[in-house]
């Protein structure tokens, strides 16, 4: 009995300890950027994290938009309401799917890369070498990645939403024959700037903080072995996916939960 209690306490303390370490690392790193010389490092990170993710984000967005439009159209057609496809698609994307799917793809595409890179640096003692040279690895390695992720994910989410709505219009309007004007007009009428766009983008900013944080921390905190790199990368994807889905549910509850 006492042993189980002790195990429970131990794991709780361990969790709190890593949470504390992660918070300290984040806090120290997030202030680490605003120095002029580091700007080119940030640009390079945005290139790796954001620009190179565009292809997978665009492809997924197009196919998701097309598929949702197809499903909505076939169901709504039975009620003669096929012109509201655009509205339904835009609401689903702006509120939920855009931020969530982009964050999941981002965790898989960019988060894992960040973790692998940093933990390899750690394994090969590059971080220790930097410290020895008087360069703070938090500032040099961690901060640019945090900031780049924070900038890129909301941007990618916006691109995702636009491409998906465009993909939906190709399927619903150009292929299946919904009315083009109604597709856009009903969307404009029913989508609200604050409730849908701003709150959706807020979600995406929160996901950006969480996913990059987890990715960087897992890399920084990994075992300095080949196995440790693999474990840390896996954990990044798993933990950030679960965190994104759980946070999304909580935020949806807070943002849209006041059912009158």
């Amino acid at each position: 009995m006492i042993r189980y209690l002790r195990l429970l306490g131990q794991s709780a303390l361990g969790f709190l300890e890593s949470l504390g370490r992660a918070s300290m690392m984040w806090g120290l790193a997030i202030w680490g950027l605003p120095k002029r010389g580091d700007f080119s490092i940030l640009v390079k990170q945005i290139y790796h994290i954001g620009v190179l993710s565009l292809v997978i984000i665009g492809l997924s967005a197009f196919s998701i938009g097309a598929v949702i439009a197809l499903q909505f159209y076939t169901q709504l057609f039975r009620f003669g309401a096929q012109d509201t496809v655009g509205l339904g698609l835009a609401l689903v994307l702006l509120r939920e799917l855009g931020p969530v799917v982009t964050a999941l793809l981002f965790a898989g595409r960019a988060g894992s890369a960040i973790t692998a890179e940093i933990s390899l640096m750690k394994t090969t003692d590059q971080l220790a070498a930097m410290e020895m040279m008087g360069i703070d690895p938090l500032q040099r390695v961690v901060a640019p990645r945090l900031w780049a992720g924070l900038l890129c994910l909301p941007m990618l989410t916006a691109v995702f939403n636009v491409v998906a709505i465009w993909g939906g219009s190709i399927v619903a309007v150009d292929w299946l024959g919904a009315d083009r004007e109604s597709y856009w007009a009903l969307m404009k009428d029913g989508v609200l700037l604050w409730d849908d766009l701003v709150l959706g983008m807020t979600k995406s900013v929160v996901f950006a903080i969480v996913v990059t944080w987890i990715a960087v921390f897992q890399g920084y905190n990994s075992e300095p072995t080949a196995e440790g790199i693999g474990l840390a990368t896996t954990r990044t994807v798993v933990v950030s996916s679960v965190a994104v889905l759980a946070l999304d549910f909580l935020m949806t509850l807070v943002m849209y939960g006041d059912f009158q």
Binding site: V43, I46, A90, L94, C152, M155, A158, M187, K188, D189
Partner: protein, 153 residues
């Protein structure tokens, strides 16, 4: 050269992101930049607004004139006060117009329909349409209840 390529693509990426946001704001959520404060408020008193929601459409003859901005209850008389924001750009509406709560299609959302009046005076900000000039929502349960009592009598 490679560094410059990276910088250019990053710049293009940021630009694409900002353009995407602007597209979402303007094309999708329909932000109207020139419509700021040229609205006026008219309050209508209803006996029943069941199902009407804030931001529902206000229209006359099928043309949207504005939105419902607030729904309150007057506890003294047990009536619902529906405040509507009408766009001045839609033109003047005579101040004896009536209001009724209608439903879009069979399953659609409730909205406020204005019934044209004959007065020469237009609505001004703060006008009230009193309950003799309005018709509240038709609530199916009430109608069925009335029918049952009538059939039973």
């Amino acid at each position: 050269m490679r560094i410059r390529m990276i910088e250019i693509t990053v710049g293009a990426f940021m630009l694409a992101g900002i353009l995407a946001l602007a597209f979402l704001a303007i094309r999708v959520s329909g932000v109207n930049l020139d419509r700021s404060d040229d609205v006026y408020r008219v309050t209508a008193v209803f006996d029943d607004v069941a199902g009407l929601r804030v931001r529902a459409k206000v229209s006359m003859s099928g043309v949207t004139l504005g939105r419902v901005s607030a729904i309150e209850i007057d506890t003294e008389f047990g009536e619902a006060l529906v405040t509507m924001e009408l766009n001045s750009s839609a033109g003047e509406i005579s101040n004896d117009a009536g209001a009724q709560i209608l439903t879009e299609g069979i399953l659609g959302a409730r909205y406020v329909g204005l019934v044209p009046g004959g007065s020469d005076e237009p609505f001004v900000d703060g006008d009230v349409i009193d309950s003799s000039n309005t018709q509240g929502a038709l609530v199916i349960e009430k109608l069925v209840g009335d029918l049952v009592t009538r059939l039973g009598a």
